[in-house]
């Protein structure tokens, strides 16, 4: 705290507690008839980063909710020990007082108030019973600088990007006397550079003696950040290993997670490529805010039947807007042409795009993919319902037959086809969305982040499904921020930067470095 540059920041040492160990012994947890945790024991050494991995439904989140007091003591069997002393949290407040903080996967910020107010929520500096806004903004500004978040404390939370909001949430937990920090898939929505910032903060905390429990699906991250990794499956701990001492770590983790050896993570099928199925011609999507750079500028591309074309761009590249606009679902004006199998498509409504043979699996299944409160069956047949109800009345036999067919083909795990999709795990939900679009039998399917928040086992299944789709002569436009996935699954890779096509590669010639370079504005000769 000597140099003038550092003087404006908080020292992380102010807020952290030191070296205590965390241990759980023989925890069992039931949700009515479901045995969610079975005799889970785990020891976390003080001052380490301990990764917990496992497929969706393996019990990671259930365990974390117990540690963070979300599930109160008494609702589970077994013991939680901090520094060797058994503890019993009655609620989140107890856990936070003991220094255990859970940063959940979903955003828990209040959109309509400022960054500073969010950061200082429920501990606002006061004077005479009123909030001392000056003190609040000053303190918040220091924390924002400490965490290197590129925002102003007076900005409205809702004007921030999702990753920025996430960083504020994490900062909020980190500034409240944290001893044990639980991060539940924190990087799911973060860009590479933001992930770096987060990791460097986590490393700083480790140096200070804070223990971090890190839940993630991304194996590469675990090698970057974790000291130890515990693998869970079906509510049990199945493996526990030191990350640094084994060269075979990723393989071993994957095998432990899914309970079988995955020889091939990306099963890419060789399919005969036919004629042009989808053409986007000179596509421009103007920004909804006047005077700003268009989301997409003069972009053209083609996808042939049997082909998977991968579109890669970093956050803000315009790929999401492109997909919406091409599907007739963009609220503003669009210029350009969409041609499916030689016929121009009206861009006025999704209904017309569907009628022309298009499908669009959106990146966010919860907000725009699924009707969460309704059944698996109703969700799967939502788009295809027209075929099943020629005179408005739904042919139940045909409907149930179709649903059954897809439930089996896509291996959708559920108690019955009438189960509401809200009760399913994320991976299973994603399969339901995929089944919905497959049932509509489109010629061209736009897949946006098809494996977002999905475990390794389900990912592989979704990749095989993509192979099946193109094998039927359909065309796939894969829009993804998972670079490995784009390169491994696509017949052609297109990089998008600032709403323009930056570069393209045929199968086999794209490398992660080259694609990322082009997507971030670099040129080939640089």
């Amino acid at each position: 705290m000597t140099s003038p540059h550092e003087a404006a920041e908080h020292s992380l040492g102010e807020v952290v507690g030191l070296g205590e160990s965390l241990e759980v012994q023989g925890i069992d947890k039931w949700f009515s008839a479901t045995h969610a945790l079975r005799q889970v024991s785990l020891k976390v050494a003080p001052g380490t980063v301990h990764a917990i991995v496992g497929e969706n439904g393996a019990g990671k989140s259930t365990l974390m909710r117990i540690l963070a007091g979300v599930t109160p003591a008494g609702d589970y069997d077994g013991t939680v020990l901090i520094d060797g002393r058994p503890i019993a949290f009655k609620g989140i407040v107890d856990a936070e007082r003991a220094g255990v903080f859970l940063v959940p996967q979903e955003l828990t910020t209040v959109p309509g108030i400022t960054v500073a107010e969010n950061l200082m929520l429920n501990r606002e500096p006061g004077r005479f019973g009123l909030i001392d806004y000056k003190a609040m903004f000053v303190t918040a500004a220091k924390w924002i600088r400490t965490f290197r978040i590129d925002v102003e404390p007076t900005m409205l939370m809702q004007s921030l990007s999702v990753p920025q909001q996430q960083l504020v949430t994490i900062a909020r937990a980190m500034t409240r006397g944290v001893k044990f920090l639980i991060l539940d898939e924190p990087t799911a929505t973060l860009a590479e550079s933001e992930t770096e910032v987060l990791f460097s903060r986590v490393r700083d905390f480790r140096r200070l003696g804070v223990t971090t429990l890190y839940i993630s699906h991304r194996l590469s991250e675990i090698r970057q950040i974790a000291d130890r990794v515990t693998v869970m499956r079906d509510g049990r701990v199945v493996d526990d290993l030191d990350v640094r001492d084994a060269a075979t770590t990723p393989r071993r983790i994957v095998r432990s997670m899914v309970g079988r050896d995955i020889a091939e993570l990306y099963p890419k099928r060789d399919v005969e490529i036919g004629g042009v199925a989808l053409e986007l011609k000179n596509f421009t999507v103007p920004n909804l805010i006047a005077e700003r750079r268009p989301y997409v500028t003069d972009l053209s591309l083609t996808v042939r039947s049997g082909e998977i074309v991968g579109l890669f761009g970093v956050v803000g590249s315009g790929t999401a807007q492109l997909a919406r606009a091409a599907f007739g679902a963009w609220p503003g004006r669009v210029s350009g042409e969409v041609v499916v199998k030689g016929k121009p498509v009206s861009l006025s409504s999704p209904g017309k795009a569907i009628a022309a043979g298009m499908g669009y699996l959106t990146g966010d299944r919860k907000t725009s993919g699924l009707v969460l409160g309704r059944s698996i069956a109703e969700n799967i047949t939502l788009v295809a319902l027209k075929q099943l109800s020629p005179h408005q009345v739904i042919d139940q036999r045909a409907e149930v037959g179709m649903v059954k067919d897809y439930v089996e083909r896509f291996r959708i795990k559920a108690t019955s086809i009438d189960q509401p999709v809200a009760e399913l795990s994320g991976g299973t939900q994603q399969k339901v969305v995929a089944a919905k679009w497959m049932a509509a039998a489109p010629d061209v399917l736009i897949l946006e982040e098809p494996t977002f928040g999905v475990d390794v086992g389900t990912k592989v299944e979704i990749y095989s499904l993509m192979g099946e789709i193109v094998a039927e002569g359909r065309a796939l436009l894969l829009i993804s921020s998972d670079l490995q996935e784009v390169i491994a699954m696509s017949d052609r890779v297109l990089a998008v930067h600032d709403g323009r096509l930056a570069d393209s590669w045929d199968r086999g010639s794209a490398t992660e470095e080259a694609v990322m370079h082009a997507a971030t504005g670099g040129r080939r000769d640089e």
Partner: protein, 400 residues
Amino acid sequence: MSEGGPQTAQAATTLSPVLHPLRFWRDRLISEQLRSFALVGILLLVWVVFEFMTNGLFLSPRNLSILSLQVAITAILCAGIVMVIVPGHIDLSIGGAVVVCAIVTAMAMAKYHIAMPIAMLLTLVAGIALGVWHGFWIAFMGVPSFIVTLASFIALRGFALVITNGVSISPDVSITFLANYYLPQWATIAMVTLLWVGFVVLAWRSRVARLAAGIEVPIVSSVLIPAAVFGAVCLVGMVIALAYLGLPLPVAILLTIIAVVTLVLRNTRFGRHLYAIGGNAEAARLAGISIRWHTFWVFLAMGLLYGIAALIYISRLDAAQPTGATGEELLVIAAAVIGGTSLMGGRGTVIGAILGAVLMESLNNGMSLMNLPSSYQQVAVGVVLLLAVFVDVRSRKTVR
């Protein structure tokens, strides 16, 4: 469990064996069914209590027949409000809209001496016109339904007072036959039997559809129990109706509307789309569903029901009062909510809403028989509404 593949595919279709008794029933009955059964149970309990408190007056065929007439108007409108609420809308204008439609009938006959059948037709047209008006603003102009119908709620009362000069109007020819006509014995039996048979056939067909796809459906829970419960309700209703004068015509109209709206919601594409729109409008839009047109048609249908309700209303009073049916919209919404309709949209059944209406009207009727002032009835209805929603919220939390 560690093997993937064929086993998981099988797990999708076979129900896992469970021991917990509550879970047992929850797995075997659709939650909406369970809810209806619970409401029927509460209703029976309330009836038995009133039977004792009123020394046997409550469950007399005469009183139950009166009760059914009292409930008919609210229940008909309930069928409409479920269609409105399921896609996430609301209608606050019901009371005023029904009164305006009733005034149309009365004035057409009393002032312009239009023949009764044409006047009745005009009533329905007036209802549809109001519905189209709402639908136009909500679906095509993008004004929230809460605001559009709130505007109607305020304006229609004023309009009713303006065109009637604030006085009650009676048609020149008595129109009371609608409310006073009772179906003959054979028609009563035929109608109730038809309803029951239709219900059983639908349950059976849905079971057959699943069996054809190779999905095991236990016959007891999918057909026998629902058929027995519904059959018992039908039988009791029929016996009561026959013991008095037969099925009142308004109740027959109500039963027809229940059947039609239930079929539309459950078995047509239109109905399925309404649930999708209410459950997640964005997902519905991206599935190619035209939210505008669905919204428009729903309000048009609601308008038709204003007209039908107005005809029964005017035939019961033989007059149209500009200040009548006050607060009807809130009773209708409360009934739907008690019956399990979610104001957030995406969830609700006509049967549930009707049971909610019957429960509320039973409280009113029973307490009147006990000579309690109507203010007590309001308190009771309020408490029931609160408790019903509380129980609903709690039960949904545990099912996670």
